[in-house]
């Protein structure tokens, strides 16, 4: 059989194209790498870990690039739809899909974790026969399982929002309300209170939990320190509005300080004077 070189021409052309492109890829790497690092730093959603879970369903929508925000919004509507139907697997999948597509809004993380930690245990217990049928130990186990899932989910959120005080508050709420773990809840509230955008109530709850844990001296020290830094009067020049003063609740903190001073039997000279 005669060898026909012309038959190999498409293969040779294709190989040449691939080779030229590979060389070009190598040559433009110094241009691409710094730009790509910059883009990645600005766009947490592009990290592989966040897409892995959603790749099957989210592939098409992920490709839409700039439509990320609205795609996540539409999937959030879908999440609420399956949540209304109490469809646990679908709700859990959509919650993760939404934050995989767009992890930037805190709203999705907070509300997603609430669905997992508070609603899903209820669904599971109702599905298993209801609160009167399911033994308390089983109910407790279900609560713990869902709380663990929610905490894992919130931990992932910290990758995208490391400084968000509200995430710490949400973690604290899960520990306190679902796992009844006051010590861990207290620690999470403390972290929230120490953030620049930490809500005033996080510090108050931390003090109250220390008190309930029997760490009264610690609670008193914390509340005294907190009280000293609370805004007590409106100061427009420093950006302290009436709402801020109201939210800070300095009189309430002082009242608790006095209660703790009583409980600890402190001498008059050791007590805070208003």
């Amino acid at each position: 059989m005669k060898f026909n070189l012309a038959r190999l021409r498409p293969l040779l052309t294709g190989s040449l194209v691939v080779a030229v492109l590979a060389v070009t890829g190598l040559a433009v790497r110094p241009l691409e790498t710094p730009a790509w690092q910059w883009v990645r730093a600005q766009q947490p959603a592009l990290k592989l870990e966040s897409l892995q879970g959603a790749l099957g369903q989210g592939l098409t929508v992920g490709l839409l690039g700039g439509f990320r925000a609205i795609t996540a919004d539409f999937f959030w509507i879908q999440t609420n739809s399956v949540w209304e139907d109490r469809d646990l697997p679908a709700t859990q999948t959509f919650i993760k899909l939404v934050t995989a597509i767009d992890p930037r809004p805190l709203y999705f993380w907070l509300n997603g974790s609430r669905m997992i930690a508070y609603d899903m245990p209820n669904w599971r217990i109702v599905d298993a026969g209801g609160y009167n049928v399911v033994p308390p130990a089983t109910q407790r186990r279900i609560d713990e399982e869902q709380a663990t899932v929610a905490l894992r989910y919130l931990q992932e959120a910290f990758n995208y929002h490391p400084d968000a005080a509200l995430l710490h508050v949400e973690v604290a709420n899960v520990y306190l309300n679902r796992l009844k773990d006051k010590a861990r809840a207290a620690e999470a509230y403390r972290r929230a209170a120490l953030r620049p955008d930490g809500p005033f109530y996080a510090g108050r709850i931390y003090g109250e939990l220390l008190r309930k844990l029997g760490r009264k001296a610690e609670a008193l020290a914390w509340l005294k320190e907190t009280y000293a830094n609370l805004p007590k009067t409106v100061d427009r020049a420093r950006g302290v509005s009436a709402f801020t003063v109201e939210s800070a609740m300095a009189p309430l903190v002082l009242e608790r300080i006095h209660e703790l001073e009583e409980e600890l039997n402190l001498a008059d000279d050791q007590r805070v004077k208003p």
């Binding site: 433009v28 710094p34 790509w36 883009v39 600005q42 700039g66």
Partner: protein
């Protein structure tokens, strides 16, 4: 290159004529007008979709939505227009007439490429301009309603919006060059369009392959994936719009790097299309 073409030197004038004709032909097509109208309508309706916004700020949402429309319809327009404009020459036999004259295939291919670039340039300019007006109006309204939130001035960097429009245009330029490379050896318009969309998907997702190769333990597989990541350009580097709408801007050096990256690929894919087309019997 035909023997006739060899007898004349390369001419930017002839290249410009091909580009001008390509542009005119594209503008006369219904596809261009239809996609342009759709994109403009979608960008303009971004405000209506605000009701669906849960997470991000309103301005960010409008910016995301506007650029989303531009990327989606722009990619469709680029692939479809490039394939159609190339194959209309082949199918109508005008390519035969044209290439029988003293004209280089390089002039033909780069003329087509420049024509498509002009078409998507008009598309990008219109959609970016519209988005700019939309954001400016909305931001002005928000500033009037809530002046405390804008004490530091406007949140949107309007210059960056223009830079983003330019980057999208360059990305469409790379996509047009890729589509032209496929068209240079393909026999049908449909095959070219489908391959163009596949390439778009691959170039958008190639960073996943690059991430994956670093985790693969088998050396041959790792080398294969690494090699693939070098072959396809990374379209995600063009996505610098994430900071628009939240008061942060685009790093100018990053813009310049991405611009140079795009121009390099346009030249390389264009050159490869010329090479591949020169091997083709028409």
């Amino acid at each position: 290159m035909s023997s006739l073409a060899r007898s004349v030197p390369f001419s930017f004038g002839r290249l410009g004529i091909v580009a001008g004709n390509t542009f005119l032909e594209a503008v006369r097509q219904k596809l261009f007008n239809f996609l342009l109208l759709l994109a403009v309508a979608l960008v303009a309706s971004a405000q209506l979709f605000r009701e669906f916004n849960f997470g991000s700020s309103e301005l960010k949402f409008i910016a995301d939505f506007g650029f989303g429309s531009m990327v989606f319809f722009g990619s469709t327009l680029t692939i479809a227009a490039t394939a159609q404009l190339f194959f209309s020459e082949i199918e109508n036999r005008t390519a035969l007439t044209l290439l029988a004259k003293p004209i280089w295939r390089t002039e033909f291919i780069f003329g087509k490429l420049l024509g498509v670039l002009a078409v998507v340039g008009v598309f990008c300019a219109l959609t970016t301009g519209l988005l700019l007006v939309l954001l400016y109006n909305r931001e002005t309204a928000l500033m009037a309603a809530n002046p405390e939130a804008f004490e530091a001035g406007r949140l949107i960097h309007y210059g960056d919006l223009v830079l983003m429009g330019v980057l999208q245009w360059l990305k469409f330029g790379v996509l047009a060059a890729i589509t032209l490379l496929v068209a240079s050896f393909s026999n049908t318009n449909l095959y070219t369009v489908v391959m163009g969309f596949f390439m778009l998907v691959i170039c958008h997702l190639q960073y996943l392959a690059r991430d994956a190769y670093s985790q693969v333990s088998a050396l041959p597989l790792r080398l294969l994936v690494q090699g693939l990541s070098y072959v396809f350009p990374n379209f995600q580097v063009f996505n610098l719009a994430d900071q628009i709408g939240i008061g942060q801007g685009i790093d100018p050096t990053v813009f310049l790097r991405v611009g140079a990256y795009a121009l390099t690929y346009i030249a390389v894919f264009g050159g490869l299309a010329v090479y591949s087309f020169s091997q083709r019997e028409i």
